[in-house]
């Protein structure tokens, strides 16, 4: 089965690194789009959480990025693609408590090193790849209906 065939909807949003006053606006938009689709509350909420964590990470650590939302009959997919420093050690970054957040990020209440782990918890499928000095790519899939067989 070719997943590209049955895309119902796709939306992409640009994210500006370092722009904390706009941080979170894309997640708010994506959540309101999903809310109108009659999806289960839990699917909407989990999609919004993984999107928000990814968005805050782009604003906090990257130069710029794009978050896209793809809706298929059985799934919601959020992709976060950024240009930035990348993550040298993904395994370490995934650990709860590991953070390189600066003072500004911490003052806003972030930087506890929970985000990537939280994304993994709330996604049904989570892929992460990164190249140092290039950027980071996250793909989160949330099933909207139980998978058939």
């Amino acid at each position: 089965m070719c997943a590209a065939e049955n895309i119902l909807e796709k939306h992409s949003f640009d994210i500006e690194g370092g722009n904390f006053s706009n941080a979170g606006t894309v997640s708010t938009k994506i959540k309101s789009i999903l809310k109108q689709k009659n999806l289960p509350d839990d699917v909407v909420r989990r999609s919004a959480i993984v999107c928000y964590e990814a968005e805050i990470n782009i604003v906090s650590y990257a130069k710029k990025g794009v978050i896209s939302l793809t809706i298929r009959p059985n799934s919601v997919q959020i992709e976060a693609d950024d240009e930035g420093p990348g993550i040298p050690n993904i395994e370490l970054a995934m650990q709860q408590g590991y953070s390189t957040a600066n003072q500004q990020i911490r003052e806003m209440g972030f930087g506890a090193g929970m985000g990537l782990h939280n994304i993994k918890t709330y996604s049904d499928i989570f892929d992460i790849s990164s190249e140092v000095d290039k950027g980071t790519f996250l793909k989160m899939t949330i099933h909207t209906q139980p998978a058939k067989d």
């Binding site: 979170g24 997640s27 708010t28 909420r45 929970m114």
Partner: protein, 119 residues
């Protein structure tokens, strides 16, 4: 308990969401660390916090938080109030500290949205 009773119990000001005071609430989560709010707070709970930046409202929206209770009498920036109104999230502000706020609510039957973390 109704949000209106929460307001009275905490002698709180209603900053946003006057129209939602008849909403029923049963559980709460309290923290100033937004990373932990994202990891642990459950849908339909109240969020007790001393942080007042706009991200508190964005997070409440993402998590389906029922209401935000600002503790320690912190003043809210105008943009936070505006966003709460736009996203229809009730915000109350109380002078009680986080510990007192939680204790007063707990004594009246509000419990944590989770009792403890796993492991």
């Amino acid at each position: 308990m109704k949000l209106r009773e929460v307001k009275e119990l905490l002698n709180a000001d209603v900053i946003a969401g006057e129209e939602k005071l008849d909403m029923e609430v049963k559980t709460a989560f309290g923290a100033d660390l937004m990373s932990d709010v994202l990891a642990f707070a459950k849908a339909g709970s109240m969020l007790l916090t001393g942080l007042t930046n706009t991200q508190v409202v964005r997070i409440a929206n993402v998590l389906d938080i029922a209401a935000i209770i600002i503790v320690r009498g912190k003043k809210l920036p105008a943009e936070t109030v505006e966003l709460a109104k736009e996203l229809h999230i009730p915000v109350l502000s109380t002078k009680f500290i986080l510990f007192e706020t939680a204790g007063r609510l707990y004594a009246q039957g509000i419990v944590g949205c989770l009792e403890k973390v796993e492991k």
